[in-house]
């Protein structure tokens, strides 16, 4: 199911309507495809290209710049272990080595059962919980080796399904409304406001001029 489902296609069109230029929807649509399929498939990139009006190569060229967009399959759970400064000082490297041993894969690889992909990630802005790991971008920490294994066990058992959605799903709350105003309406509103503002500024300047004269006469 690499093309958008009817529901997702409708959502894609809604996202497109939010931007003055369709290409702005490129990353949101890639996220939408990844939420649907778990990774960014070639077919999805073709469809994103059609929708935003660029070539598939441009979608790939853009998506490949971004770490979160995966142009090859990943596991059900993407586990990112942070080893950046705050985590390093709290044992992030040791946690990553433990994760490698525990899952039996090197960073970048997926377990044979397709359950887990391990990554070494850069700071995920959860440094008060160092060392921390992100599972499908939900944060856990501080994590020692035992806590890590427990987390993996819970994920395997499906005990965290409510907290950790499938890979690719970021916000489970989807925007349902389009823009409340049209570009033309807002432009007219702003032009009027700018004119009023200019009028107030010149009135103020005239007043200042007037009081300035008054001051010199007294």
């Amino acid at each position: 199911m690499a093309r958008f489902s009817p529901e997702n296609l409708a959502h894609a069109r809604l996202l497109l309507s939010l931007y003055p230029e369709p290409r702005s929807a490129l990353l949101p649509l890639c996220h939408l495809a990844q939420a649907q399929d778990g990774w960014l498939t070639p077919e999805a990139m073709e469809q994103v290209a059609e929708l935003v009006g660029v070539t598939p190569a441009e979608v790939l060229g853009t998506a490949s710049f971004y770490d979160m967009l995966h142009t090859s399959p990943v596991g059900t759970y993407l586990i990112g272990v942070c080893t950046n400064l705050a985590c390093l000082l709290a044992g992030g490297e040791e946690l990553l080595r433990h994760a490698e041993r525990s899952l039996g894969v090197a960073p970048g690889a997926t377990t044979e059962d397709g359950m887990f992909t391990l990554e070494e990630v850069e700071c995920v802005a959860a440094c008060d919980r160092a060392p921390c790991a992100a599972v499908n971008w939900r944060y856990f920490g501080p994590l020692g080796p035992d806590a890590f294994d427990e987390l993996v066990g819970q994920l395997r058992a499906g005990a965290l399904a409510a907290e950790v959605p499938a890979h690719g799903v970021l916000s489970r709350v989807r925007r349902r409304r389009g823009l409340a105003t049209t570009t033309e309406e807002v432009a007219a509103e702003r032009r009027a406001a700018d004119e009023e503002r200019a009028a107030r500024a010149s009135a103020k300047a005239a007043e200042a001029q007037g009081s300035g004269d008054g001051g010199s006469r007294s």
Binding site: P20, F65, L69, N84, L88, L89
Partner: protein, 442 residues
């Protein structure tokens, strides 16, 4: 997060966070939510901007530019202009915007509408780091509530002012925190920083139109500033460093976390050591070095602990408050390892456009890695400085730049700080052919 009553400044941006349900619409309304916006909409836009100028609110993203002055750079006679809010917080060890997005999304939206009203933005885009999945969810939820409540959308609170806000997820790239890279990303492209000039997107920004890019914490301050007045904000702090600021404290402290303290009136030592703040380093340990404002900054050492959290003071001392991220390294830290990891980060995140940054970061990473892992040579120490000097000639502060954006000159400071202060430690690595620190303590 509360300070002692004797000298406690108001909690301007974290006031609601004591409530476990601080992110909910109900809690927001019960704690003065959207009152600042209602007041702003009764004022003329230029009067709202004047309050912000009077507050001297410095941008909380990293560069610390005056918010009111940034707004004043918008050219006249161009009715289509945009507000873009930078929530792509990625500077290592910075985690304050992450908290504000997750724990008080309505305050952020309220600030955005206030700013958009003051500058007359046609539309506002809230660019949130893609990795902040829960934050994205909380903001989407809050945005729907704000639309339904009439605080966003058509004819806000019957004022005649209309605004749409779009939440835009990033997709994992540190460089997109650089404002022109963020605009490229928002246009659906790779996050390549734009060539300067123009130095400010206020002239040419999103889709080539005048654009203001402001940080999440900056926006989150606006409801309080409008409600209490710019002068009340400016009465806190000292000099140009007015108001309060959130400092993200991490590393070897007993209580890592985000702490909102009065700027300039608080010192690094208080932040790190006070019982209600960082709680000090572990028993029997001492501060060896600390990052004063994000890993792009040169480091500070124990003799700077009593310096106030004042943007200009820290700048004069050869570093920066930057993103407000303070990371403490105690005396068990291997500074070679710590600075190597920072360089590795920049190497991974360089966008690759400029040779000094792309190649220099890789060279520094390789040389640092071989020193840390025992393969270093004595001449490597000078090689590090030579490569660093090719990225940022003169190795001065503020740094000289050979690249399109400031990522380049952000690469050398950590290595140069560690090397200039602890050259002997580098030499020990080289002479012993290994890292002298026990593995579990590194």
């Amino acid at each position: 997060m509360s300070a002692p009553s004797t000298s406690s400044p108001p909690a301007i941006v974290t006031g609601r966070l004591g409530y476990p349900d601080s992110h909910t619409f109900e809690r927001f309304l019960a704690t003065g939510g959207y009152e600042g916006l209602r007041k702003a909409l009764r004022l003329h836009p230029e009067d709202v901007a004047a309050e912000v100028s009077a507050s001297n609110l410095l941008g909380r993203g990293g560069a610390g530019f005056e918010t009111g002055r940034k707004w004043s750079l918008l050219p006249a006679g161009k009715p289509v202009r945009y507000l873009v809010v930078n929530g792509d917080e990625s500077e290592p060890a910075t985690f304050k915007d992450h908290m504000l997005i997750e724990r008080d999304p309505h305050q952020l939206l309220e600030g955005i509408v206030i700013a958009a009203y003051a500058i007359g933005a046609a539309q506002a885009f809230l660019y949130i780091r893609g990795e902040f999945a829960l934050g994205l969810e909380r903001v989407e939820q809050a945005l729907e509530e704000a639309y339904a409540y009439g605080a966003v959308g058509r004819d806000i609170f019957g004022s005649g002012f209309s605004l749409d806000i779009v939440v835009h997820p990033g997709a994992g790239a540190y460089i997109c925190g650089e404002e022109t890279a963020l605009l490229e990303s928002l246009e659906g492209k790779r996050g390549f920083p734009r060539i300067k000039p123009p130095y400010f997107p206020a002239a040419i920004g999103l889709y080539g139109e005048p654009t203001i890019v402001n940080n999440v914490e900056t926006m989150s301050n606006l409801p309080w500033i409008v409600t209490h007045g710019g002068a009340a904000f400016a009465a806190l702090g000292q000099g140009r460093s007015t108001g309060t600021r959130i400092f993200a404290l991490s590393g070897h402290v007993r209580r890592p976390g985000n702490y909102e303290v009065e700027m300039a009136k608080t010192t690094f030592r208080e932040l790190i050591e006070a019982e209600h703040l960082g709680g000090g380093v572990r028993e029997g340990r001492a501060v060896k070095a600390f990052v004063p404002g994000g890993v792009s900054s040169p480091w500070f050492f124990p003799e700077q602990l009593d310096m106030p959290l004042d943007q200009d003071e820290v700048g004069k001392a050869g570093a920066m408050l930057g993103s407000g991220a303070i990371t403490v390294m105690d005396d068990t830290t291997c500074v070679v390892r710590a600075s190597w990891r920072i360089v590795k980060f920049f190497w991974r995140e360089s966008c690759g456009q400029c040779t000094p940054c792309r190649e220099g970061s890789g060279w520094l990473e390789k040389v640092m890695h071989r020193i840390e892992t025992g393969g270093g040579r004595e001449e490597d120490l000078d090689l590090l400085l030579d490569v660093a000097d090719n990225i940022s000639p003169g190795l001065s502060w503020p740094p000289a730049q050979t690249t399109i954006c400031v990522l380049g000159p952000s690469i050398p400071p950590s290595v140069c700080s560690a090397l200039s202060r602890y050259r002997d430690e580098f030499l020990t690595h080289v002479k012993e052919g290994r890292c002298p620190f026990p593995e579990e303590a590194r």
